[in-house]
């Protein structure tokens, strides 16, 4: 019943989207046209209908309507209610429906927020964003339908939404349950935030396309009006990536947080181009330059978002042959190709309208260093893209599967990231238009010297790896130059009699966009510190122990005490848990309980590390295996992950900085209206 309702509302929502596009096209020449208002209402209706449809799936998951195939595959009676809800994004059909729902929410929000201020762009914003929505709705309806039910036809089970003739309902007693790997808090937040980021970037893309189509791309309205949308999308994408890393660290049990896996790369690439876009949009706002380039960046980001969804959802990564096994791969492939080529064609058509308002004045200027930074972002994106798809190309061309693993990315992207972080540190010190080298030198010499001193100090403590030393120098130098920016501003204010705290508060408060950005930079520096620490100084050891025996790693000693086994979740989850004691320099720290769980229903094991987190490092203990019979011994693996906590800390700092920059405020709202006055005047006169 509820399932039927979900399906019907999905169909109605598709119709509403279709109508919205047609009505927007019909009313595109007259901004006061009732067709346009009607399209707007249809977009909101599509969102409300999608909400009902999504709610129906959630209801099925929670209530355990196992005749519905999706519920059968991802939910089970023993799961907690929270897990049952998160099962919405635990499988193919649900994920796509969830993506679609978020997309409809964002388009509806645009209709509410931007209707009066950006009316001239609205018809085409509707066409582009609802067009994207419609594609996903179509996939949900025709290819990955979450409302399909199971029916018996004689001995066979058939999948169909409605009861086919001559069948009777097949209702399994229990579902298969969510993939154990996904039963983790990180997985509760990771997909929604990632999807929010993905979906959020569709909005600036839609505005960009609308600006191109209407020939209004030359004034920078689309950039200004979507600035905050872009920032929020970027924020969610960043949170999604960090949560994903945390999840991998806590659940996958290999001691790391990032493995350059194709699925990880898929969400990282739009982040890279999105970050490049955020930055180079600033040049357009301030200097009226790089208009074509920004178009290319937002088109790339949009295409990479679709590409990311495509490669994670089509299974094309594990084998190119799975491409044709489901219609999802070809559908995405076609949609990506069409939108990408159409966007580029449109851009090419409208090149004439995108004249730069200023020229480059000097190679030593913020514009120039932003260009360099753009090149680096794109270089990393390209290398990552190439590394991700190369195994498929190889399989197609030579028939041989190959692996492109972390060593490739470390070698190619590592140096690029280093230069990128360097530009992040010095770019804020470059003035727009032209920068005198002497002044730059005056600003940079002190952080440079201090950073060199730090690196030399580390050399004396016995660190010999030149790349690691360079990494520490870089982190110190960039961190200091960024802090120096704060210091400079505070000093200038203190000269007017303000105390240091007030000066800092006012400095940041009066220019949240700029200093929020610097806080984000500090977050990135912290993450870089964690990456340098774990990449160059991770230690590990493994060994089989009998109770009472110990493993040693660095200054730590781990003693194996006992092993116990019990079941959870109605007997489905068999837990084998070891108890170990951890010592540092002979001093007892804590008992830890690494465990290995086995899920009977899915036949899947799950290694859950026990982690002792200290400010300087994590001790990460894994139970690898144990002897079932005989003189009992268990195998343990210990990782020592130096500085890994800086990554999570940096992630939080990055979020705080982005919120600081994006939070709506009075002052910004005021400058907004002035900046947009001409565009609004044009809208009013029409």
């Amino acid at each position: 019943m509820i399932n039927d309702l979900g399906f019907i509302t999905l169909v109605l929502s598709v119709l509403a989207s279709l109508y919205a596009i047609c009505a927007a096209l019909r009313g595109r020449h007259d901004l006061a046209s009732p067709w346009l208002s009607s399209a707007r209402r249809a977009v909101v209706a599509a969102f409300l209908l999608m909400t009902l449809s999504t709610a129906a799936v959630v209801y099925g998951l929670v209530a355990g309507d196992f005749q519905v195939n999706y519920v059968y595959q991802t939910s089970s009676r023993s799961m907690s209610t929270l897990l049952k809800v998160t099962a919405l994004w635990g499988g193919q059909e649900g994920s796509i429906l969830f993506w679609t729902w978020l997309m409809s929410a964002f388009t509806a929000a645009v209709m509410v927020r931007k209707w009066s201020s950006d009316r001239p762009l609205m018809p085409w914003v509707i066409v582009v964003s609802v067009g994207t929505l419609l594609f996903f709705q179509g996939v949900s309806l025709f290819i990955a339908n979450p409302f399909t039910r199971l029916w018996f036809l004689g001995q066979d089970v058939v999948h169909s939404v409605w009861q086919p003739a001559g069948t009777f309902p097949a209702v399994p007693r229990d579902g298969q349950g969510l993939n154990p790997l996904l039963r983790h808090p990180g997985m509760v937040g990771h997909p929604p935030t990632l999807y929010l980021g993905f979906v959020g970037f569709v909005i600036p893309y839609a505005f960009a396309m609308a600006a191109l189509i209407t020939g209004r791309a030359a004034d920078d309205t689309w950039i200004r009006t979507t600035r905050r949308w872009t920032l929020i999308a970027w924020l969610f994408l960043s949170i999604g990536l960090i949560l994903g890393g945390r999840w991998a660290y806590d659940v996958l049990g290999w001691g790391g947080y990032w493995g350059w896996d194709p699925v990880e790369n898929a969400s990282f690439m739009p982040w890279l181009t999105g970050t490049a876009f955020l930055h180079s949009a600033m040049i357009q706002e301030k200097r009226g330059m790089l208009k074509v380039w920004n178009m290319i960046l937002i088109i790339l980001t949009y295409s990479l978002i679709l590409f990311g969804t495509f490669i994670t959802r089509s299974g094309v990564i594990s084998s190119v042959h799975s491409f044709a096994r489901s219609a999802i791969g070809p559908a995405f492939f076609a949609f990506i190709s069409v939108t990408f080529l159409a966007s580029l064609f449109l851009l090419f058509e409208r090149l004439g309208t995108l004249k730069s308002e200023h020229q480059m004045d000097s190679l030593l200027s913020r514009e120039a260093i932003f260009l360099l930074q753009n090149l680096l972002f794109l270089g990393i994106t390209f290398a990552t893209f190439w590394g991700t798809i190369f195994p498929m190309i190889s399989e197609l061309v030579t028939g041989e599967k190959i692996t492109v693993g972390p060593p490739f990315y470390n070698k190619v992207n590592g140096p690029l990231f280093a230069v990128l972080v360097l530009t992040m540190g010095v770019a804020p010190l470059f003035a727009w238009r032209k920068q005198s080298a002497a002044r730059l030198g005056r600003a940079l010499w002190l952080p440079f010297v201090i950073a060199v001193a730090i690196a030399l100090g580390l050399l004396l403590t016995g660190i010999r790896n030149p790349a690691a030393l360079f990494g520490y120098w870089l982190v110190a130098f960039v961190g200091l130059t960024t802090l120096w920016e704060f210091g400079r501003g505070v000093r200038a204010r203190m000269r007017h009699g303000e105390g240091p705290v007030l000066a800092l508060a006012r400095l940041v408060g009066r220019n949240r966009r700029r200093y929020g950005g610097y806080v984000v930079h500090l977050g990135v520096v912290m993450i870089a510190l964690g990456v340098v620490g774990t990449n160059f100084f991770q230690q590990e050891t493994q060994g089989m122990l009998r109770p009472g025996e110990s493993l040693h790693l660095g200054r730590y000693t781990m003693t194996y005490e006992s092993l116990r086994q019990y079941t959870l979740e109605g007997g489905d989850r068999q837990v084998t848990e070891a108890q170990v004691s951890l010592y540092r320099d002979g001093e007892f720290l804590r008992k830890l309980h690494p465990n290995k769980d086995f899920f009977l229903s899915s036949g899947q094991p799950l290694s859950i590390p026990a982690v002792l987190s200290r400010p300087g490092e994590d001790v990460y203990v894994l139970l690898v295996g144990w002897e079932e019979v005989g003189p009992s011994g268990s195998t343990f693996k210990i990782y020592l992950n130096p500085l890994v906590n800086w990554i999570w800390l940096g992630g939080l700092t990055l979020m705080a900085g982005t919120l600081l920059a994006a939070w709506p405020g009075r002052q910004q709202a005021a400058s907004w209206t002035t900046a947009r006055r001409p565009a609004m005047g044009a809208a009013a006169s029409e």
């Binding site: 896996d261 190439w386 190369f390 041989e400 693993g405 032209k434 400079r488 200038a492 590990e540």
Partner: protein
Amino acid sequence: MCLLQAQRQAQMKQLSALISVLLLIALLTGAAYAQEPVSDDEVNAIAKHLYCPVCENTPLDVCPTQACKDWRELIRQQLSQGWTEDQIMDYFVANYGIRVLAQPPARGFTALVWILPVAGLVGGGLFLWRLLRRWQDRRPPAESVAAGEGAAPPDIEPEVLARIEQEVESRF
């Protein structure tokens, strides 16, 4: 998906059986040479650089499947017989293809994976350089004089200038 897993499991079972036989042979022939036991860390140091031949993107040292356990035993066996790391790597490549390597070798077709990113970066850099030069050349001379004048006059204190800059920026 289920089908795929089932296939993979069947595949692994076959491989597992094959490896067991190999191990047995190795044990029988190698027992005479076996010296002191090889530690897990020595095995992992090599397994780390190999990728599981059946699972996607999983290094052999952390892969939990039975097949991978057997492969690690095989490495232990080979080490105890005095094989070098290169020999073991060659053995795995010869038996399971180059996909067991963490990165493709830089020769033949797979060299492309290395060449293209570098070529792209160099090409992009050149393009950018030419673009910058063209922009600078295209600038009318009058404006370039103005820009020169617009640059910081040397007698303004840098702090003041920074403050002006900041104020100007905060108004945009």
